[in-house]
């Protein structure tokens, strides 16, 4: 019996030994941890589909290096994200992670990735906690820093000439970042502010507050399904025509718009991407997306796509070898890829420096609803935390 065991062990050891030289040809594993279930599951779905679309368009490779994507669902639960990272690090030896949608999941999960010396490239969540003093050489964000989404909305509120604004945000890290960001740029008066629960589906109480405060405009941060409920109830409460709304991209994306319908007409949005952006990279992306998925492309999809390209550029720079993290980092920082949003580079804290645009929900000539690009709000905009980041 013992002899058999030893023999089996020896065989196993021999196999492992044999496998090592072959590693260079095996595909690079990329762990995509994202929210596929629960409310807001479409956000993770779009990020994943955008990411995989980029790989498919490059024949199963990124930057000429074969990759293997391992998609896991965190169900928007921080604890679940942590468990997945643990498993992928230990069992699958994954060295590159991406995918997280929600800031609270990122807050719990990303430190484990970084502590293990692996790399995290964010396609969405960009909480302030990792942008300033808490920045990390192995942490990259392709989407935006949370605050900067809402800084652009604050700037738009200035340009639209609103003297007082009421603020509403979901009560979690990204919601707090949202109000911080808005207030940093908005110069008028804050008529009042409310935080809502993340599982809240009824906003009647907040609307009564808004009506009582009588602001010139409302700014809200309610991503995904929350935003749908918010916009519909806002119209039902008869507020839509009385108090205009300024929001950043998460509160009104292409999917929310198609579900909310007319209740969204006239809402002012700021975004770093829109499906109609006129650059070759975006045209190729939108065409491929429409052909493959037959549903409107959201900015989540574009971020997933850009993230894959960013990782691809870095993989190309190191010829698919991940042993030297510093070399990978330097290759990544060059951001040598064509972003769907046009100009894109990494700032000193490895968060994006990019342009922000004003969009508006309007009816097109054929009666459909669309987000139309109006004007540039901020050019080459980084974030407020970059100066605090020291590596």
């Amino acid at each position: 019996m013992n002899v058999l065991k030893i023999a089996a062990g020896a065989c196993l050891a021999a196999q492992i030994g044999l496998a090592v030289p072959a590693l260079a040809q095996t595909p690079v594993k990329i762990g995509v941890i994202t929210s596929l279930s629960g409310p807001g599951g479409y956000l993770g779905q779009d990020i994943r589909d955008g990411f995989e679309l980029a790989i498919d368009m490059n024949g199963g490779k990124l930057g000429g290096v074969p990759v293997q994507v391992m998609v896991e669902d965190d169900a928007a639960k921080p604890g679940q994200g942590k468990q997945i990272v643990d498993r992928l690090l230990k069992n699958e030896k994954v060295r590159i992670f991406t995918g997280i949608v929600f800031s609270n999941v990122a807050g719990a999960t990303v430190p484990d990735v970084l502590d293990a010396g692996a790399i995290y490239v964010s396609p969405n969540a960009g909480p302030s906690t990792f942008a300033g003093k808490g920045c990390h050489p192995n942490y990259f964000v392709v989407s935006w820093q949370n605050d900067s989404l809402h800084e652009s909305a604050g700037q738009l509120a200035n340009e639209l000439g609103y003297k007082s604004v009421y603020l509403v945000a979901a009560n979690y890290q990204a919601g707090k970042d949202a109000l911080e960001g808005f207030k940093r740029f908005y110069k008028g008066k804050i008529a009042g502010e409310s935080f809502t629960r993340l599982d809240q589906t009824d906003f009647a109480a907040e609307f009564a507050q808004i009506r009582a405060a009588g602001p010139e405009a409302v700014f809200q941060f309610e991503p995904g399904g929350l935003g749908i409920a918010f916009l519909r109830q806002y119209e039902q409460a008869g507020l839509k025509d009385k108090i205009p709304m300024v929001v950043a991209a998460p509160s009104l994306d292409a999917v929310t718009l198609s579900v909310v319908g007319e209740a969204a007409l006239g809402v002012n949005v700021t975004s770093h991407w829109n499906s109609g952006f006129d650059n070759p990279a975006n045209k190729a992306f939108v065409a491929a997306w429409d052909k493959t998925y037959h549903r409107p492309a959201t900015y989540y999809a574009s971020q997933g796509y850009d993230t894959a390209l960013a990782i691809g550029a870095a993989l190309k720079g190191v010829a698919g070898k991940l042993d030297d993290v510093e070399a990978f980092r330097q290759a990544m920082l060059k951001a040598d890829f064509q972003s769907t949003r046009g100009a894109f580079k990494f700032g000193p804290n490895q968060h994006p420096v990019q342009d922000w645009w004003a969009l508006k929900a309007e009816k097109t000539a054929d009666g459909k609803l669309a987000l139309n690009t109006k004007a540039k709000i901020l050019s080459g905009h980084g974030d407020a935390y970059a100066k605090d980041c020291k590596f």
Binding site: P39, G41, S194, T201, A205, G224, I228, G238, V259
Partner: protein, 303 residues
């Protein structure tokens, strides 16, 4: 005026909670089953109504379709899964019904995709009416209040003045005796489960035009429904009614007025932070308080 408006909001929220928790408490009180999949029945109701409305366009049919789909799913679930759990302990029930949540959610996202469905508001119920000078209130929310109150009255009559109701009441407290008298307890349980599912489906149908119809929508309201059941007393439908109203009012009122109150007491940003924190836990504080005063809930069943 704003107080009155918020009171109405609170009542409306409470009524929605009641529709959810009435079914939960019936199923728990009579059958002794903790049904985590109750939220999935809510989602099934909302999805079915959304699909009927999208394909046929009739509001009445959408309502019927939604509650019928939920009731039928409830009966099927009872027949296939829950039936086997009556004699097992609560942990097994939690495990099995949690599995149902995962299966139903996955099924829904495979069938209908993860993107939310669009449900339009019935034309007759959109817009608002002026109740008092300066108080315009959405018609839909008023309709929800009226509908919910009539369902509550109907349930009261059903439980106290019909033969099924008598068996339900007796089954809750003296299961063996009811069985000994020759009543088919199995069929009674199926009826009760179906009724609970129907109520959850109705809540889902109502929620459709107000919130987003999407996978996982049931879990958001499920926790609150459980809190209501605990506040009202396990197994008591009347308790669930008052518990739901109390929870709805406390939640809405604290969200609306705590901030103003705290602003009188301390600085602006501190007040906002504290008020938002306090109002998110107000329902749980209410539950803790009720349990402190009445450990079995407001109107506990006599089990």
């Amino acid at each position: 005026m704003i107080v009155l408006e918020q009171l109405l909001n609170g009542v409306q929220f409470g009524i929605t909670l009641f529709l959810m928790s009435a079914g939960l408490t019936l199923i728990f009180g009579i059958m002794g089953v903790i049904n985590l999949a109750h939220g999935s029945l809510y989602m099934i109701g909302a999805y079915a109504a959304a699909l009927v409305a999208a394909h046929i366009g009739s509001v009445g049919l959408a309502l019927l379709g939604g509650i019928a789909a939920a009731a039928v799913s409830g009966i099927v679930i009872e027949f296939i899964v829950v039936r086997r759990l009556y004699e097992r302990d609560h942990l097994d029930q939690v495990l099995a019904t949690f599995a149902l949540i995962l299966i139903i959610n996955q099924g829904a996202s495979m069938l209908f995709g993860r993107q939310p469905l669009f449900v339009s508001m019935p034309a007759a119920l959109s817009g608002s009416v002026t109740l008092l000078p300066g108080l315009a209130y959405p018609v839909y929310r008023l309709a929800v209040i009226v509908l919910g109150l009539s369902v509550a009255a109907g349930l009261f009559l059903l439980i106290h003045y019909t033969r099924v109701g008598m068996l339900v009441r007796a089954g809750a407290t003296h299961r063996q005796m009811v069985r000994a008298l020759g009543v088919n307890v199995g069929r009674l349980y199926t009826v009760v489960f179906g009724l609970g599912a129907l109520l959850a489906g109705l809540a889902g149908v109502i929620a459709g035009p107000i919130t987003a119809v999407q996978v996982g929508m049931g879990e958001q309201i499920l926790i609150l429904a459980f809190v209501v059941v605990v506040i009202g007393g396990l197994g008591s439908v009347r308790g669930a009614f008052f518990g739901a109203l109390a929870a709805g009012l406390v939640d809405t009122m604290s969200r609306a007025f705590l901030q103003m109150l705290f602003r009188h007491l301390m600085g602006g940003s501190n007040a906002d932070a504290l008020a938002s924190g306090m109002s998110s836990i107000s329902i749980y504080l209410l539950m803790a308080f009720v349990l402190l005063v009445r450990p079995h809930g407001l109107l506990a069943g006599k089990t």
